[in-house]
Symmetry: C2
Amino acid sequence: MPVYTVSHVQNIRICVVMVGLPARGKSFISQKIVRYLSWLSIKARSFNVGNYRRRQQSHPSADFFDSHNEDGLKIRAEAARDAVVDMMKFFNEEDGVVAILDATNTTKARREWILELCRENSIEPMFLESWCDDEKIVMNNIRDVKVSSPDYVDTDPDTAAMDFQKRIEKYREIYEPLEVDTNKDLTFVKLINVNEQVIINKIETYLESRIVYYVMNLHIKPRSIYLSRHGESMYNLEGKIGGDADLSERGWQYARKLPNMIKNVLRINGEEEEDDDDGDEDVQLTVWTSTLKRTQQTASFLRYPKLQWKALDELDAGACDGLTYEEIEKKFPQDFKERDENKYEYRYRGGESYRDVVIRLEPIIMELERQENILIITHQAVLRCIYAYFMNVPQEESPWMSIPLHTLIKLDPRAFKTMVERIKADIPAVSTYKEKGTSQLGEIEDANNKSKNLITGAPSR
Amino acid sequence: MPVYTVSHVQNIRICVVMVGLPARGKSFISQKIVRYLSWLSIKARSFNVGNYRRRQQSHPSADFFDSHNEDGLKIRAEAARDAVVDMMKFFNEEDGVVAILDATNTTKARREWILELCRENSIEPMFLESWCDDEKIVMNNIRDVKVSSPDYVDTDPDTAAMDFQKRIEKYREIYEPLEVDTNKDLTFVKLINVNEQVIINKIETYLESRIVYYVMNLHIKPRSIYLSRHGESMYNLEGKIGGDADLSERGWQYARKLPNMIKNVLRINGEEEEDDDDGDEDVQLTVWTSTLKRTQQTASFLRYPKLQWKALDELDAGACDGLTYEEIEKKFPQDFKERDENKYEYRYRGGESYRDVVIRLEPIIMELERQENILIITHQAVLRCIYAYFMNVPQEESPWMSIPLHTLIKLDPRAFKTMVERIKADIPAVSTYKEKGTSQLGEIEDANNKSKNLITGAPSR
């Protein structure tokens, strides 16, 4: 495992201590970091103190959070202790590398306590404060996320929102933000109004710098990410992998249909107001392809800015490039078996593994986080890796996911999950899906499948 | 060109406006950014106002910089104007993408003037302030760099240092640092005491975020970077390119000799105090190899932490993998010619170009900037690309550089240039150097060459 073992060479364990009033996106940031690091095979977990507190007090009113409420204080202190105990188990018994203590941690005393615990256990503390005085952002967060919290089951949304605002006030009374001067010996990051300003203090390790750069690139503007494999290629018809073949006739059909499919989904999103000819020009969409012909041919009828990325090229099959699975099984029987046994780690002779592809896709993911609407036209293995990031699919499963040809996938990233929609083009194509333990590919894709197939998003944690 | 064309899609032009007192590393940062971006094929140039001022006043004393010195003010204002005129030519006539205005720009009035110019020309201004109150860092900078400035030709170093300190005081009288609150509408980065703290405000474009992340990763601790190709391989003996061959017998000889060669250079650097057996453990060095056998075999006798990077694998020759140059010339005559004509851009069928390699090496360079002593054992093309970064070699030349087998290269990055030393192992090896227009490789490497061959560093700008 290349780049990210730097953290292992250094043998560093990091506790990211979130800081901030409620509704400042702390849990959003926490789960994003966990998803990103997990995708990179860095063992990471978030410990949400609210979840521990709910074991004792599941529907608290704002008064529960008053700093003079003795019962509340006791339960909340216990919840914090329980979370920290589990966090230490994660480090010491499960070889955890990055833990996130997802709580308000608004007082200096609380932060001192965590700091001390980290020091005793040789864990690097990194404070991550989300500070926001933009009431519009806070209210959006309350409405989008907080009113549907388990704390407010069966509560009317307006009542819940009002109660939550009171809760915030209780915290504000005792909130001591991180201070640039007095805390200058701490490793910390302070995000102000969702990355409008970022203050970074004493970031020293590689892994910390990666986390900071990732968090700096997050935004919360609504947008969609569209994924598609290239249209059916001549190699697909012959069952060959790799290569740089042209599209088949049906592949070209898909390429010609794609502009309208995109137009339709953009219209649904309300991003295209009128069905006129120059509508396209108003829609902000960028198309990313690989450097291989079949993705560029698939994009050729789309009238949006386009960008080629070598990093989006298909998994390099090395010595097996241009062969069919049957030929591979015959020529390299041992390799064929090994790959089926651990498809994520298996590296083709002179080629790549899924893990290698993930590492080279890291800049793509970083850039996707920064961007708004993007359509990515790429290849089966690459698409599986990108999909796994957004849908939080475990790595042992991702190489086995079915992602058929001639299908547009629409991802809508929300705060805690990604919504998915698959839109079929109704153009038949061969199946390129190989099941475990066989060299046979599936039957021809059924063009009569339901042309729209809504799958609700898998929760991202 | 993949990732970095994002800047071109967005069609953004950036003016990085340096801010800070003299001796705060502004020119150091400027030339590093230019080198990094140029290496990534992003057209960048630094405009140093001091150089323009020297045309009128080449040996000024501190009084020249007094804010009441009318002549001085006039000459300095003219120099700033001349620099800006050239900068605008760079943007408008040479398609420049990133310009750096390397000057103190310490007053609000001066910054307002630049801001206005940028707005009129649709250029994004990004202020980059280096702020430092650590007198030790400042004094080191004065002694290492400033006393040898052209301003102090024929001046005794102590006198020069004293005069320079006076010059700083003249600037301090009128210095108005960037303020986090009042400048919050500006895009800016404020580096405090060499990245101890970094404040980032309103960074919006991809290219800006890359520059910021790069600058955040710079350090000024002394260290060396050691580069070596793998030992001679079986494929080298046969004149074949690519593959994953084992070392030849002479390759293994080199591998066995490498630990002592490294020990010697570390000792010269004063990093190893005693010549005892456990000396190795005290030396901070990490060895990076590719995932290919020949680099790992070459590293196998070294007792330092090791890290494998897929990104350090040799340039992928695609369809030509495993062939000799003669076979390539015969099989793909047109490709062979094209590659010789533009070796940097030529992409092997199903493989990579030098440009592709540079893009995948970007995280390696970023990590190298963060690290201290590193030994990289890698391949000819990859080594050329890394070497080109440190030595500022133009891209059209870098694929033609001679980097022989069985030679250790020691790079010492200094403020404005990188010192180079080549240490030969005195173990013969075939030549893998192919001259333009022929498929023949050079003669066998001469083992009787001078075993140490000091080349002074090429200036990095």
